[in-house]
């Protein structure tokens, strides 16, 4: 196996490690990859049938199959619905926000702009938009306007427009709900179908509560922190993540997750705080102590993957085809951690480049729907209809009821596609 040497600027920590290792081996000893590489361990873990569904990225099914044995399926769903709501919200704003609205658009879309603005954290626009949507959206509009009059507002105060049913570990929310409105378009008399992202938001909360009911309380806040929406707190206490929270996930261990969470609150200080415990922090610090060195991060993500594969082989006693699959989570994870640092530094463009590379690294079982939806949401905020829809589509079955996001994406794609100049098929 070809291991790449650390060969980039600012790599002083690497001088203490063998040339063929991306990070000191101690940093990956407790990784989930090495835990499951122990002989017999993977079979033991996979005795829980729900992992098959996690592997296939079908989290609604995983949540049901896990029941009360693990909160992982619900936790994934809680994160996915959050990013789906953000994707919907950005698609709505990119279609109907005041600078994009057309005279022929239904007047009621101002309600959707209000809800979308809440989800994206713009309460001023939300307050200015809600309460004037008119008859067809009247009850929902009034309910949202009402909750925003409170002195303090938390996203959890969102009005329960849809009756999802009682929260239960291993349960499923009511699937018969229809969050769409068929609004009359001015002049044409045709119908514009739009979807209310409130349902998606409620589903996120439902699954978060179900995850707690399934025993996720000790680790859930930290686990969910990277996926929270703008008005939610990301200040999560660092807590030990059990194997079922990490297995088939992008963080190799608790320290990686704590590191990315600390980046959001502490910025660069997180590099020093976690470089000795988190492999991602060690690499990101080496590659981005000053300016972010993209090539260094790309090289080191590959090197860490190779290092993990070699370590898994040693732990297992021989090569196993799953080892490369497992290591590919880390190949994408390093880049995503680097992107989080860029977020903290306000380097949006570099963050996006890293995420686009991470998208390509995290394929097959290492595909992470919540990450892809987050990237799609960012693209939608930039009115990138092509890539956001291409990112969403393969993930639409990851949890139940996500098809409603397509409704928002359809109106968005129509708007953007039709205002783009003439083109011919090739």
């Amino acid at each position: 196996m070809l291991l790449l040497a650390l060969s980039c600027t600012g790599a002083e920590d690497a001088e203490n490690t063998p040339a063929t290792e991306a990070v000191p081996s101690a940093l990956i000893e407790d990784s989930w990859m090495l835990q499951v590489a122990q002989p017999g361990k993977l079979d033991e873990v996979l005795a829980q049938k729900a992992w098959g569904e996690v592997f296939e990225r079908r989290y609604s099914g995983a949540a049901m199959t896990f029941g009360t044995e693990s909160a992982r399926g619900h936790a994934e769903a809680a994160a996915i619905y959050r990013q789906a709501a953000l994707l919907q919200a950005n698609a709505i704003l990119s279609t109907f926000a005041s600078d994009q609205r057309r005279d022929t658009d239904p007047a009621q879309v101002i309600y959707l702009v209000g809800v979308a603005s809440v989800i994206t954290g713009d309460l001023d626009t939300a307050k200015a938009s809600l309460g004037q949507g008119g008859e067809q959206v009247g009850d929902a509009d009034a309910a949202w306007a009402q909750v925003l009059t409170a002195e303090t507002f938390s996203l959890r105060d969102a009005p329960p427009l849809f009756s999802l049913g009682e929260v239960a570990a291993g349960g499923t929310p009511n699937a018969e709900l229809d969050p769409t409105y068929r609004l009359p378009e001015a002049e044409s008399g045709l119908v514009v179908e739009v979807a209310d992202p409130t349902l998606t938001l409620q589903l996120a909360f439902w699954h978060e509560d179900a995850a707690r009911a399934a025993g996720g309380e000790p680790w859930l806040d930290a686990w969910l922190a990277p996926w929270r929406l703008p008005l939610e707190s990301v200040d999560a206490e660092a807590t030990e993540q059990p194997l079922d929270a990490l297995f088939l996930g992008v963080w190799t261990g608790t320290a990686d997750l704590d590191f990315v969470n600390a980046l959001a609150t502490d910025g660069d200080a997180a590099l020093d705080a976690y470089a000795a415990t988190s492999p991602y922090a060690a690499i990101v610090k080496a590659c981005a102590a000053d300016e972010v060195d993209l090539d260094c991060l790309l090289d080191q993500s590959v090197a860490l993957g190779a290092q993990l594969e070699a370590a898994m082989e040693t732990a297992y006693g021989s090569q196993h085809a799953d080892h490369r699959t497992f290591a590919s989570f880390a190949r994408a994870g390093v880049l995503r951690a680097g992107a989080r640092l860029c977020d903290a530094r306000g380097e949006e463009r570099v963050a996006a480049i890293l995420r686009l590379n991470a998208r390509d690294r995290g394929t097959g079982p290492a595909t992470d729907p919540k990450f892809q939806l987050a990237l799609a949401a960012w693209d939608a905020s930039n009115r990138n209809a092509l890539r956001s829809t291409e990112l969403f589509h393969p993930n639409r079955a990851s949890v139940d009821g996500l098809d409603v996001v397509q409704v928002s994406l359809d109106t968005f794609s129509l708007r953007v596609g039709r205002e783009t100049g003439a083109g011919l098929p090739q």
Binding site: L2, G52, E187, N357, G364, N384, L414, R418, E419, G421
Partner: protein, 524 residues
């Protein structure tokens, strides 16, 4: 449970292809050679990608942030009450022959598109957008639109051509410029018989970091991947799905997403008497077993999750807002129903073969040759299925040249069916594919399909004032075409590239691919 990738090709495989010492030349495989270096006459995605290297579009979307920006326009102003924009061209930009780029070039390009003497389907489309262009000064052009657009700069995504290289605004496809183009892009292109070489051209607005690019025509995908592994080339623009696992299995290669809306079809020649009755076309649609075709040519197992290849029932990909989701796909064959339809249409079966008016039918099926690399053996598999359905058949691989010269121009009357692929970006205008050929419309109507109801729906789309009107027109079109079947719609196939990891900064722009080529680096 765990379906593991098999490393079919090891790094130590010795292959017949020489691992070339590449110096600072970046070699890559394309689907085929370009057919024209003149962007006014692009006929394939290969052409489009090449044009992105050699020319500048007036405005383009940043492939990372999607910001609408320009390399050649310094600033702009709305004019004529919003029905025009005044563009201030950047100073110091030079054409690759040293001439200065100016407002006259911008207006020349628009006037060339407006000139009815320019036989370009691309120009034909732009005539609905632009009404004129005036040079106000050396660096200032006023571009006039046919209507007020909400975001007018979005209309300015065309490639700028050099006025001094043409004798008139009536540009011809066989002009020498099509082989020896002059652009303001990051690279100059030189078309050879076996490839295209691109030399870096530093300019006021471009600073490419790779000295030379070499486009080679890709052949057998297995050889392409092995050559890439051996560093004989550094990239492959389109890696077929069956070979992607091999790319993913190597730390020296990276698989890159290329966001593109491509769908595959079998066009049916309704001028043939035995294909005129739509029940025959519906029967052919039922004879095709798409699941089997997909498995045998693309390698997708039945029931596979997140397949790169997704069936379609009409002329849009499933992610498109124009896709009518109430029209079901036809994943499996239904020979029983197909035979009922054929008999209703008056065909008779003798000796297991279908006959029309007493004569056995032999279907002549063609496929654009390079598609065989992306979907190996598809043509034969379609032939086999039609044969199993009782039709004799002859199969033909159509060269790119013949495809452009005969099929796209509606002169492929020798064929009964042709297998092809259309690719779209954000704009999903299918009017040129299905409109009756007349007055510049239906410019890509392969078998000159004509149907007044379809034309009416296409006209509704064309004249739609609102998004919903446009969507409704195309939803109805989808439904109509599912009944009429001028095409048998197959699938959307996603596109992935593969590049060696020594190639850096290689962001692939949706649809256009090379938009960010200035940032590409290669250190062998």
């Amino acid at each position: 449970m765990m379906q593991n990738h098999k490393l079919l090709l090891s790094l130590s495989v010795v292959v017949g292809t020489l691992a070339l010492s590449t110096g600072s030349t970046l070699n890559f495989y394309e689907e085929s050679l370009p057919s024209s270096m003149n962007p006014m006459f692009a006929q394939s995605m290969v052409d489009n990608r090449v044009h992105e290297l050699v020319f500048d579009r007036l405005y383009y979307f940043d492939p990372i942030t999607n910001e609408l920006t320009s390399r050649v326009v310094e600033r702009w102003e709305l004019a004529d009450g919003g029905k025009a924009v005044k563009l201030f061209v950047k100073k110091g930009i030079r054409w690759q022959d040293g001439e200065a780029l100016g407002a006259d070039d911008v207006c020349f390009t628009i006037n060339a598109m407006l000139d009815e003497g320019t036989p370009s389907p691309i120009a034909e489309k732009q005539r609905a957008v632009f009404s004129g262009c005036e040079v106000e000064s050396k660096d200032t052009a006023v571009v006039q639109f046919t209507q007020i657009f909400h975001n007018p700069l979005n209309q300015l995504g065309f490639y700028v051509l050099p006025e001094h290289k043409f004798e008139s605004t009536a540009i011809q496809p066989d002009d020498a410029f099509s082989n020896r183009p002059e652009g303001t892009g990051a690279y100059s292109g030189s078309m050879g018989r076996r490839g295209v070489t691109f030399g870096a051209k530093k300019n006021a607005h471009h600073e490419p970091r790779i000295g030379q690019l070499s486009l080679q025509e890709g052949g057998d995908p297995l050889v392409q991947v092995r050559t890439l592994l051996n560093n004989g080339v550094q990239g492959i623009v389109a890696v077929p799905p069956p070979y992607r696992a091999d790319v993913s299995a190597s730390d020296e290669l990276s698989l890159k997403s290329y966001d593109l809306r491509s769908w595959w079809f079998v066009a049916v020649n309704q001028d043939k008497p035995y294909l005129k009755d739509k029940r025959v076309r519906q029967a052919l649609n039922l004879i095709l077993d798409r699941t089997d075709l997909r498995e045998k040519s693309i390698g997708v197992k039945p029931g596979e999750q997140n397949s790169p290849c997704e069936f379609i029932s009409g002329p849009f990909v499933q992610t498109s807002p124009y896709y009518n989701r109430s029209i079901d796909v036809q994943p499996r064959s239904d020979l029983e129903q197909a035979f009922v339809l054929l008999e209703q249409a008056g065909l008779t079966q003798t000796g297991g073969r279908w006959h029309y008016k007493g004569q056995p039918i032999t279907l002549r099926i063609g496929m654009k040759a390079p598609l065989n690399n992306e979907a190996p053996d598809l043509l034969s598999q379609i032939g086999n299925q039609l044969s199993a359905g009782g039709f004799d058949r002859q199969e033909f691989r159509i060269t790119v040249d013949d495809w452009n010269r005969q099929v796209l121009t509606g002169e492929a009357e020798d064929y009964d069916m042709v297998v092809g692929k259309w690719s779209f970006g954000l704009v999903e205008d299918v009017n040129p594919l299905f409109h009756t050929r007349n007055g510049g419309r239906g410019a890509l109507n392969i078998f000159n399909y004509t149907n007044p109801q379809v034309d009416a729906l296409l006209a509704q789309y064309q004249s739609a004032k609102t998004d919903t009107q446009a969507r409704d027109a195309y939803h109805k079109l989808h439904e109509k075409l599912d009944d009429e079947l001028p095409y048998l719609f197959l699938w959307k196939l996603d596109t992935k590239s593969a590049w060696r990891t020594e190639v850096r900064g290689n962001t692939i722009a949706p649809y256009y691919y090379w938009t960010a080529v200035d940032n590409w680096k290669y250190s062998p």
